[in-house]
């Protein structure tokens, strides 16, 4: 799978292209603005417009990924809390005592529960489904979910980093194309003045 790890490859190709990553197109790094523009076959304004549009697309994807990241970051503490509860129940099991707990019935209203020695817990799986598991099964299921969530988060963070790099490259390219254009105009103006005088 093409992953863009940044290594110094400047000796290989004159225009190091970052391959795309999970649907995000890589921004082409420009060695020389002149060659870049002639390669694209666009004039300066069209090139700038194209780059600006690319930037907007990147921003959109960034928002989406950030939202996903927030969701995952909220889910992980939830799963950890569940694991905590199951572990506590399991620990209590040995002692034979009942676990007394206060739980929220509604906002600000709590009720007391006496949890006797049991061997199983019920886990809410979503979509109005709840299943009963033994302590060990519940722990392993929750642990697996936690590991998956953490792994997804890592991939997501790597995606975001890649995306931000492409945004930076595009911003720098826009600045350089614009400066090149300004430079060209100045040169042209200078030669016209020289011709006229």
């Amino acid at each position: 799978m093409a992953s863009t790890s940044i290594e110094t490859t400047s000796s290989f190709s004159s225009q190091t292209t970052a391959t795309e990553r999970r649907g995000i197109p890589g921004a082409q790094f420009v060695e020389d603005v002149q060659t870049y523009l002639s390669q694209l076959g666009l004039d300066v304004n069209s090139a700038l417009a194209f780059l600006q549009e690319r930037l907007q697309q990147y921003k959109l994807v960034e928002m989406k990924l950030l939202a996903q990241q927030r969701d995952l970051q909220a889910k992980i503490p939830d799963i950890e809390k569940c694991l905590d509860v199951v572990a506590t129940l399991q620990a209590k099991k040995g002692t034979g005592e009942d676990l007394v707990a206060d739980f929220e019935v509604s906002e600000g209203i709590y009720s007391r529960a006496r949890i006797q020695d049991t061997d199983s817990v019920c886990l809410w799986l979503g979509a109005n489904v709840m299943l009963e598991y033994s302590y060990e099964e519940a722990t392993s299921l929750l642990q697996k979910n936690l590991d998956n969530a953490k792994a997804s988060l890592e991939v997501l963070i790597a995606d975001l980093q890649f995306l931000r790099d492409q945004v930076t490259i595009t911003q720098v390219t826009i600045a350089r194309v614009y400066n090149w254009d300004v430079h060209q105009r100045r040169v042209r103006q200078a030669t016209t003045v020289a011709k006229d005088s």
């Binding site: 020389d32 509860v85 676990l99 707990a101 350089r176 400066n179």
Partner: protein
Amino acid sequence: MQQEQGGKSDTQVTWEDQQNINKFGRLNNRFHELEDEIKIAKETNENLEDAGNELILTDEDIVRFQIGEVFAHVPKEEVETRIEEMKEVTSKKLEKLEEEKESIVAQMAELKKILYGKFKDSINLEED
């Protein structure tokens, strides 16, 4: 957000420069994330401290300790032990975060030196 702006100079931007700029951007993002995380960790630490202090003051034997979404009735000593453990975990985490932050600040200073050295006024790496 720190921006790179081209100035009037015609300094060529090499792939290595671009990579440095990218790296700087990444470090800067991570720096801000770390600042937030450190703030949260410090708050958690304070809360645990307060909880520990309250515990010493109370004369009840059974304390309602939050586990997940419920408050379990737990004997005072066990709660003390738990709070101590949680404080340990949070302090270690805070230490690690501070270390990472220092390393990032150092790396960013290095990169600033390199990039300002090459681009001088053409690049702006400050917070606005």
